[in-house]
Amino acid sequence: MGLSTSTKTFAERLEDSKKDKFAQAAVARAQDTQWEKRESSREELGNWQEWRDIAESIRQHTLKHLPHYLTEFSDNVAARGGHVFFAADAKEANDYVKKIVLEKNAKKIVKSKSMVTTEVDIDPMLVSLSDDMDVLETDLAEFILQVADWDEPSHIVFPALHKNRDQIREIFAAKLGYEGDNDPVNLARCARDTMRKLFLKSEVGITGCNFAIANTGDINLSTNEGNADLTISIPKTQIVLMGMERIVPSIKEAEILDNMLARSAVGQKLTTYVTFAGQKADDESDGPEDFHVVILDNGRSNAIGTEFESILQCIRCGACLNVCPVYRQIGGHAYGSIYPGPIGSVLSPVLGGYEQYGDLPYASTLCGACTETCPVKIPLHELLIAHRRVMEDDLKMHHDGSFVNMEMNAVGMGTGHPAMFGMAMNMAHAGLSMLPKAKEITVEGSLFEYGAVRKAPALAKGWTDVRDLPVAPPHKEQFRQWYKKHKAGK
């Protein structure tokens, strides 16, 4: 899978997404639920904008001094007997993990949910090492996706959002021999029992890292399920994969970001399990005896020193997905990247290039809701515009081909001059008035249904494919006409 989750084009993925009504409803429900939780937890905290300023200052400071903190962190890990590998790309990271697993002759591996391990595509590599290799994703959602033949995630925080309880029951029945009902409590108990048995036999644990603590060499993990804590307790070997930007000076800064993360991701004051751990001490009896940290670049340095550097401030809360009107309509799979939504639309082209992810910056209304909600103040919608500018102006990668560009040039000219804009508006109303809206407009299958245009041509097609386009009011009811009249009468 890697960074890319699909071989289809963006247009093909959109068509698939439009058909998936359950996923659309699930995303809408998730966004609405999370809105309530997130906003009330932020309101309860108070001074939210000041908290955002603090979080932003920590992230910007760390990025500014990244070489210093990476050096300090790796020195501290090594001082405690751990091992640090700096990987330039996914292949180097995979090769290192492979080397460790082979050295340990490990056959039973447990994994805690981690975006970066998916980004480097570690699961297929591990599975390919041996016929009897047992790799277990221990986050419930990731476990469901794994049991469902490694289905792809659709959300950063809720990866199995697109699956309902009946589908999960069927998957568990087919693959795990589950005989119970579709109650999430019973399904979760089945998962708990299955996973607990495998945990106790595990030889290697693989985790991500929410934050790495430079001055102690510890890693910081947040989960609600506790699966990361078992992963860092039971196996004798632990391998941590982390993006190079996920570092903070000390536990004091991590504490602030953990609070921001919990409130922004799931509306909690603190995630159920927040853990700071590293290699076990000599007199301890559980925890990793061999502790490895893989620090990954994999395209992140493309953002350093550029106008996109602030995307590395991201703490993976997923709040931007949960407010995005585009994500609401098309869901996670349509993005074709393991990083969906606004964050993915900015980050994916940085990591994987414009050739593959150049469509994503256009999958935005530029409403700014993502920027508004981001707890570390990443100017997401401005970065989306910046991507478009780079592609159009610098790289001359005209997004939708010459015809659309011609149309957009015409729109640009029309909207750029008041007189032409007024003329264009009048023409639009005149044009629409020619359509048969005087007739009954509630007939199924006609051009107009319930007072809306259902199938429009050219530029408006992208809109009417997924939304209704309200019929324009009669000319005399136009706002501009009304305003002119009332202003004159004032």
């Binding site: 429900r29 998730a30 000041e50 300023d53 603090i54 200052s57 400071h61 760390t62 990244l66 070489p67 990476l70 050096t71 790796s74 001082a79 405690r80 007997g81 590998f85 700096f86 330039a88 419930l140 809720f158 990866p159 309880r165 399904l187 979760a188 106790l200 102690t216 609600n224 399920e225 506790g226 699966n227 804590d229 078992l230 860092i232 307790s233 039971i234 536990i251 991590a254 504490e255 602030i256 953990d258 909690q268 004051k269 603190l270 159920t272 399990y273 927040v274 853990t275 700071f276 751990a277 590293g278 290699q279 076990k280 001490a281 000599d282 301890e284 009896s285 559980d286 925890g287 020193g305």
Partner: protein, 227 residues
Amino acid sequence: MTGTIENREKFLATLLEKRGGVELPFEAYQPISNLPETHLAHLTTDELLAIARDQAARVSANLIETTASKMNEVIAGLIEKSGGEQVMIPTTDEFDHFGIQVESNQLVQWKIGAEYRDENIMAAQNSNVAVAVAKFFLAESATIAVESEAGQGRSLHFLPTHYISVIPLSRMVARSTQAASWFEENKKPGSTLHFISGPSNSGDIEMQLVVGLHGPLEINYVIVKDL
């Protein structure tokens, strides 16, 4: 024994190159606000406890308030309510220090020493209840802070089915800021910090909250008011 660091120079050279070859002079992070330290810090113990009570219910933890003289009776009652069976406790001076006595005919203790790895993990797995003392209790989020070390391994907090955290009220602080600040100065080298807010849970199936996925199915906070 010192570990290894591979590829660091090359990796950092790439970052330097992206900055145009100019290394920025290092300055330590200076907080731009004291908001984390002051948030809730002005509240009295009673006010913080009221917040903690409300929050404990939100994180599906049972909060019981008692006194030192009744503490052991409360603990015994919780063990019985949990179904008895095997009970695990850490090896720590704090049990003696606070007078905690856990009565059980199937009592096991976490053994100090790396050679007891498998024995300790399996004892934790086979325990129905674990009893431990919290280092801090964070009122804002109803969170216990626990420091795993030789006498109480990481598994002790996660594998047993029920968990009883004994919390001297004197260890209650406003929020994670105060605990983090203390650990910044006093954390034992190599120890592990767990901030635990109620039982393990998940909303991954149609966003319906399910408690007890990996860790304990139940967590009890026993707040001892005069300790």
